[in-house]
């Protein structure tokens, strides 16, 4: 079994695939690592999950997949990717990408084994303040509206890039990880370290994220994207069927915090989405399809 490098394992490098975390050694175990106990291998994916990795491991992999690269590759390679309901697996020790969408999932060869593993790691953890089970008032009954996958992609990009721009601000060369050589002052420390430490995709996310959060664009882009995200959440209905079928790359489950199972069926990639905490429906549906 493998664990992505964005998940902390005490004493081992935790880089999230980024040069900006070069030399950073995890000071503690992520909750999932503590729960699994066993010796696990490390596997490096694209920087903060932004870019498509070159390859997938030949075994089970715990990893976060916001942008759909892993789901698409799983379907292409005859593997399965289980994304649990947002907040069911502790993110203590997961280097954040987009906090409102980050969720440790399971890439595996056998969904039965995958779901068994999920049971082991889906444990309430007081160290993750945003786990499921918060005490929010009930939301109003949803209204049905169709929002195209293209718009969903756009909303995901706006919101995820904004969150990434914020989450990677800490890689500034002051405290840990990579620090550029030859800095002449604070300004130069920040600029050189971030120029050299962040890859192209991360820079693109940082710049775009800062732009959509700026005073100029916050209301017109960011707030609008948040509103559309809510409309997307309200548009997903499970009253007729327990399952919604979309493409492996669809951001629907990520945006809505819903559990999904991605695989290929008769040569076609499929992502099954179930209602909140209804992971078992995903497995039943897959079994029914066989």
């Amino acid at each position: 079994m493998y664990v992505e490098e964005s998940i902390m394992q005490k004493g081992l490098p935790a880089t999230a695939g980024s040069k900006s975390l070069e030399g950073f050694i995890a000071p503690f175990d992520a909750t999932v690592v503590t729960l699994l106990g066993d010796k696990t291998g490390r596997f490096k994916l694209g920087e903060f999950g932004l870019s498509k990795p070159k390859q997938l491991p030949d075994g089970t992999l715990l990893c976060n997949d916001v942008f759909g690269h892993i789901r698409r590759m799983a379907a292409e390679n005859g593997m399965f990717y289980i994304r649990p309901t947002y907040g069911t697996v502790s993110r203590y020790g997961l280097i954040p990408t987009a906090s409102s969408m980050d969720q440790i999932g399971i890439l595996c060869k056998d969904p039965n084994e995958g779901f068994a593993l999920l049971e082991q790691i889906a444990v309430a953890d007081a160290k993750d303040g945003a786990m499921a089970g918060n005490t929010l008032p009930k939301e109003e009954p949803p209204r049905k509206r169709d929002i195209s996958e293209e718009i969903q992609e756009l909303v995901l990009t706006v919101l995820a890039y904004a969150e990434i721009s914020n989450n990677i601000s800490r890689y500034d060369g002051v405290k840990f990880g990579f620090r550029a050589a030859g800095c002449t002052g604070l300004e130069s420390l920040y600029t050189k370290t971030r120029t050299e430490g962040l890859g192209l995709e991360a820079k693109l996310a940082a710049v775009t994220g800062c732009a959509v959060l700026s005073q100029e664009h916050y209301e017109t882009i960011y707030v609008k994207a948040m509103k559309i995200r809510r409309l997307i959440k309200e548009s997903v209905r499970f009253d007729k069927a327990e399952i919604v079928k979309v493409t492996p790359g669809s951001p629907l489950a990520v945006l809505c915090g819903l559990p999904s199972l991605t695989f290929s069926h008769k040569g076609e990639g499929i992502q099954l989405i179930a209602n909140v905490s209804n992971e078992k429906a995903l497995l039943s549906e897959w079994e029914a399809m066989q």
């Binding site: 964005s6 998940i7 902390m8 935790a14 999230a16 975390l21 995890a26 000071p27 503690f28 992520a30 993110r91 203590y92 020790g93 997961l94 280097i95 954040p96 987009a98 906090s99 409102s100 007081a126 160290k127 993750d128 303040g129 945003a130 918060n134 005490t135 929010l136 008032p137 904004a162 969150e163 721009s165 914020n166 989450n167 601000s169 800490r170 500034d172 002051v174 405290k175 840990f176 604070l186 920040y190 800062c210 959060l213 700026s214 005073q215 916050y218 960011y222 948040m226």
Partner: protein, 497 residues
């Protein structure tokens, strides 16, 4: 310059008196070794989801109750982005969109709370825009020897509330009165210790000037509310009430001068107060152009504040300054003046309460606190008195039961205060107890009279004032350890013989 009116709004930051930090379990106490109270979370390492400190929310609710604020049913946290080495994550977690409290108010006494001739203390109501919870940043330490800058993250993540007022202030005196009231309210409720020197209470002032009502301008007389506000500047970095008052006077004069003479064009900016030079200066550069890119924090779930929770906080709040005043003046029959001084200062009220538990003599204790402890504090130049109340109680008791006289008591208090001596054993070891053997005192008095025959004659010739000299001589012979009243009566008695 009576033609101008100064208009000010305040942003007061107060560190909450929680044990641990706002989003991690590190100690929030002041005064630790650099970077002693730091964990991966408050050092800004990734992978540490924020877990909200419930106690901080309760102290925020308490602040809302004390200021008659509307407390939010649901509050949320936001992220404020900027780069600075003392900010480990590159963002500060704060509340912009749904703060814990809105629309509060605080009544402040004017003219130092002195009553007018009709017996009414004049008051003013300062309205509050909001109170929000946020995390503090670390501290930069400049090391002159190595010419480097070091970061101490002990303070990073310590919970704060920021109390934002509306622009209701017109004078420096009002600002000082408001801060005094705020300190009293918050410290008595255990929300914060409000020490400006340690930075647990910090105040930024937003200030502008405008033509006062009735000033002869082009538009003639105008109502106060109608005159448009002038250009606003924000002044920072004042760490005492004195500095705040001085900074306000300096800055409002600078604005007036700029308007009057045109020698300077006012711009909206942030300025730092230099206490040594006694002036404000512009914090040129990015500080004034910052776009903080606020956005809702996705890591912290919205927090519901139920009516039940608010009531539980209300019921567990300690006595207010006002309640303590009533207790002191009605229950313990202290004079109003004593009651006011002690109930206005959480530190004194605590000392009073603790000492009273050891030695139930409220009037004596109040007297010692107000006369002796306060003068010791003045010499010490500290914001807070710290003394062992058990030893303080014993000392007062030693004077009351005439084991020592008051003068010896005062000297001992300095030793209790500075060295923490135990007064009972100190008095025994140094034989400071009063001479209570009437025979010894009589012998001493007679000896003094015998040695000062000339003075005795002066007395008998009608010079009353030499009595003091004779008593002084006797007290000196007794090592200051006799009850002066007994010496006095014996001296008078023998002189009359």
């Amino acid at each position: 310059m009576k033609n101008y009116e100064t208009v000010m709004g305040l942003e007061v930051h107060v560190e909450l008196a929680t044990e641990s930090k706002l989003f991690c379990a590190c100690s929030a106490k002041f005064g630790a070794e650099p970077n002693e109270n730091v964990c991966p979370a408050c050092a800004g390492m990734p992978g540490m989801p924020a877990v909200l400190n419930k106690r901080a929310v309760e102290l925020g609710i308490a602040a809302g109750l004390l200021t008659n604020s509307e407390i939010a049913n649901v509050m949320t946290f936001d992220k404020k982005n900027y780069f600075y080495p003392d900010l480990p994550t590159g963002y500060q977690i704060t509340q912009l969109y749904s703060p814990i409290c809105r629309n509060g108010s605080i009544k402040i006494p004017l003219c130092g709370g002195v009553a007018r001739s009709d017996g009414v203390v004049s008051e003013k109501i300062i309205t509050l825009k909001q109170i929000h919870i946020e995390e503090d940043a670390g501290k930069l330490v400049h090391d002159a020897r190595t010419e480097t800058t070091l970061v101490d993250f002990n303070r990073a993540g310590v919970p704060l509330i920021e109390i934002v007022s509306n622009p209701d202030f017109r004078t420096a005196e009002e600002v000082v009165a408001y801060l005094g009231k705020l300190r009293s309210l918050l410290s008595f409720a255990g929300i914060s210790d409000c020490k400006m020197q340690e930075g647990s209470m910090r105040c930024d002032v937003n200030i502008s000037v405008r033509r006062a009502a009735g000033a002869n301008g082009a538009h003639g007389a105008q109502d106060e509310g109608e005159a448009p506000l002038g250009v606003r500047t924000e002044i920072k970095n004042m760490n005492s009430l004195k500095a705040i008052a001085a900074a306000i006077r300096y800055e409002s004069q600078r604005h007036i001068d700029a308007l009057e003479t045109g020698c300077e064009t006012l711009i909206q900016e942030t300025r730092r107060w230099d206490d040594d030079k006694g002036e404000t200066f512009s914090m040129r550069g990015k500080e004034n152009l910052a776009d903080y890119r606020y956005f809702p924090n996705p890591e912290i779930m919205p927090v519901c504040i139920s009516q039940d929770w608010i009531e539980a906080v209300r019921n567990s709040m300690p006595k207010s300054s006002h309640e303590i005043y009533n207790l002191l003046t009605k229950e313990y029959n202290l004079p109003e003046y004593d009651g006011k001084i002690i109930s206005n200062n959480k530190n004194l009220a605590d000392i009073f309460e603790q000492t009273l538990k050891q030695y139930p003599s409220p009037r004596e204790i109040a007297g010692w606190i107000i006369v002796e402890l306060l003068s010791l504090q003045k010499e010490d130049n500290k914001e807070e008195i710290s003394i062992d109340c058990g030893k303080f109680a014993k000392l007062i008791e030693l004077v009351d039961n005439k084991t020592i006289n008051r003068n010896v008591g005062k000297k001992l208090l300095v030793k209790v205060f500075e060295e923490g001596i135990d007064p009972v054993s100190y008095v025994e070891e140094n034989k400071l107890g009063l001479v209570s053997d009437a025979g010894v005192i009589e012998d001493t008095v007679r000896a003094v009279l015998a040695e000062n025959g000339k003075t005795v004659e002066e007395y008998k010739a009608g010079s009353q004032k030499v009595l003091g000299f004779l008593i002084g001589q006797a007290m000196r012979k007794l090592g200051g350890k006799a009850d002066p009243a007994i010496v006095n009566s014996l001296m008078t008695k023998f002189l009359e013989e």
